[in-house]
Symmetry: C2
Subunit: 332 residues, 2 copies
């Protein structure tokens, strides 16, 4: 099952954990210089190394289908607009995926529900080993794995968690955490990573440093910081609840009421309501839904995934907002 | 059954119809000069004339109980603060009532659900006749019934309808009607009559003239104007619905959703939501509630009636808002 169809550890705060490895194959130029023949050769090598994986030729997919992959965090936003041949390989659960011919030749990723960085890391390494057995990676003793962008040199690894921090955000405590994270070589970003905005109090925290540090150290550091954030977020939520229980109750119950009743919901409003409802569920105020359903909803209500599921691409904004409201109502 | 527990004619626009007759008894001074003995004598006369009516000594009632009578339109706001003996007589259905020793010695009223001015007028006249049979009214050939306030001289009759005009208000058409009404000797006021504000698009329309016009002419004129307003309001509602069905659907469904889900609702917010929900019901968008339930809700959610029904007087605002939300949820 995909990460958004199940609940993981600490799901009240951590939505998902992901490890991504950037790899390039020796003797082939980096993506911008890679020609069609080269790209096809690389794709073929990876396909045969991972012969039990499903292969999706991205160029055969509609824009909406590609956007839906982004919404599910299966591919990067950049992968939508690649012009040379590029494919996505996925395991049955869609937890493990390899983008072939993105910015780097390979972007291996494993994504899991809740706080599961080690699980994600092991899975990514297992894929890495399988591919490594049949190709030679571009590797340099001093620089480590060679990557298109110098910020990935070294381990080529980006470990991240998608984290829901409504209480720390609203009390402005998160602000002071952000600079501490930076000093630790970690970055706080929006829901869809670099350049994206935080919505519904959902952030991505990932390592910003890939050189001079081992994979194990990176994972440990991130895990420890996330555990601190979880504790701090939970305590702050309880304080908020105790400080003004009536107001909080009213807010989360209204949000759920609007989700159940509205005839049209924009994705912006949905994310706002989502945040209130999730907080209500996690504080035990709302009991007739759960984190699992909410994760499913979070992805299912996104524009492309929503349209795709109903086989209705190219809807007007108003039609899409009606479809979203009806989908949410059906889910709750 | 009281007017708010049933549905009458044209209930999508007209909530209730009321006829009130002001009468004074010969040889007794008007209320401000009336002493306790005089007041008690008058009360006794009316009691024996209407011996099948329930008698409520207002001075034995708590402030909340008296406020609740006002909310139900059974007594005038002024009747809450009378200091001399004053009683309310009511028939079993609470449709007919006589305030004894308000501004005038007698304020006879009959109030019915929907558009039922003639029904209300007949009922008020029947009470008037019964009392008239055993007392002598203060009456002057030239001035008609003598009343404390000169604006009631003549027929002493005030006929009114409580009318729900969301479409005419929102499209600002009502504004132009208001001056026409004035020319016709009719007045448009807020929900609780003179000096009160229109809330939830609910107004009172009543005659402003009681001299030089018969009761029959007054009722006919008011009825004809109300019928025009009903037709105009209905047409405007349909136009609004056709012009932007999605937006209207969304608005009314959200209002109902909030009524069903909120943990706290102030009376001000309730009236706003009420207006949207009633419009939704009357346009057939909301089908799981009806005008009868809404009329009951409109009165039941008012502060005093609400507290009285739960035997919890003297609640804080927050407690009352919680009680209101829970009452509304239970009703829908």
């Amino acid at each position: 099952m995909a990460w958004f169809d199940r609940t993981g550890k600490d799901s009240d705060v951590v939505l998902s954990s992901r490890v991504r490895l950037a790899r390039n194959i020796k003797d082939y130029p980096f993506a911008p210089m890679l020609d069609e023949t080269g790209a096809n050769e690389i794709i073929e090598k990876v396909r045969s190394a991972l012969d039990d994986y499903s292969v999706t030729d991205m160029r055969t997919k509609s824009h909406t289908e590609r956007r839906s992959y982004v919404e599910k965090h299966l591919i990067s936003p950049a992968f939508v607009n690649v012009s040379t041949p590029h494919v996505l390989l996925t395991n049955e659960d869609m937890t493990d995926a390899v983008m072939v011919c993105e910015e780097d030749h390979l972007r291996i990723q494993s994504i899991h529900a809740g706080l599961a960085l080690r699980e994600a890391y092991s899975a990514a390494c297992a894929i890495d080993d399988r591919i490594d057995a049949s190709v030679t990676y571009a590797y340099n003793e001093k620089l480590g794995y060679l990557t298109h962008c110098p910020t990935n040199l070294g381990t080529g690894m980006r470990a991240s968690v998608m984290i829901f921090l409504p209480a720390l955000t609203q009390t402005k405590v998160l602000h002071s955490y952000a600079s501490q994270l930076e000093k630790l070589g970690l970055t706080l970003r929006g829901m869809y990573g670099e350049g994206s905005q935080a919505k519904a109090y959902i952030y991505q925290i990932s390592n910003s440093i890939t050189m001079g540090i081992t994979e194990e150290e990176t994972i440990s550091k991130l895990e420890s910081v996330v555990n601190q954030l979880i504790a701090s977020e939970r305590k702050t939520r309880e304080n908020m609840k105790n400080d003004d229980y009536d107001r909080m109750c009213d807010k989360v119950m209204r949000a759920e009421g609007l989700m159940r009743s509205a005839y049209m919901i924009s994705s912006g409003e949905f994310l706002k309501l989502f945040a209130d409802v999730k907080l209500g569920v996690d504080l035990g105020i709302i009991t007739d839904t759960d984190d699992k359903k909410l994760s499913e909803l979070l992805i299912g209500a996104m524009p492309a995934t929503l349209m795709l599921a109903s086989s209705r691409e190219g809807l007007s904004d108003a039609e899409r907002d009606k479809l979203r409201a009806s989908y949410i109502k059906g889910m709750l």
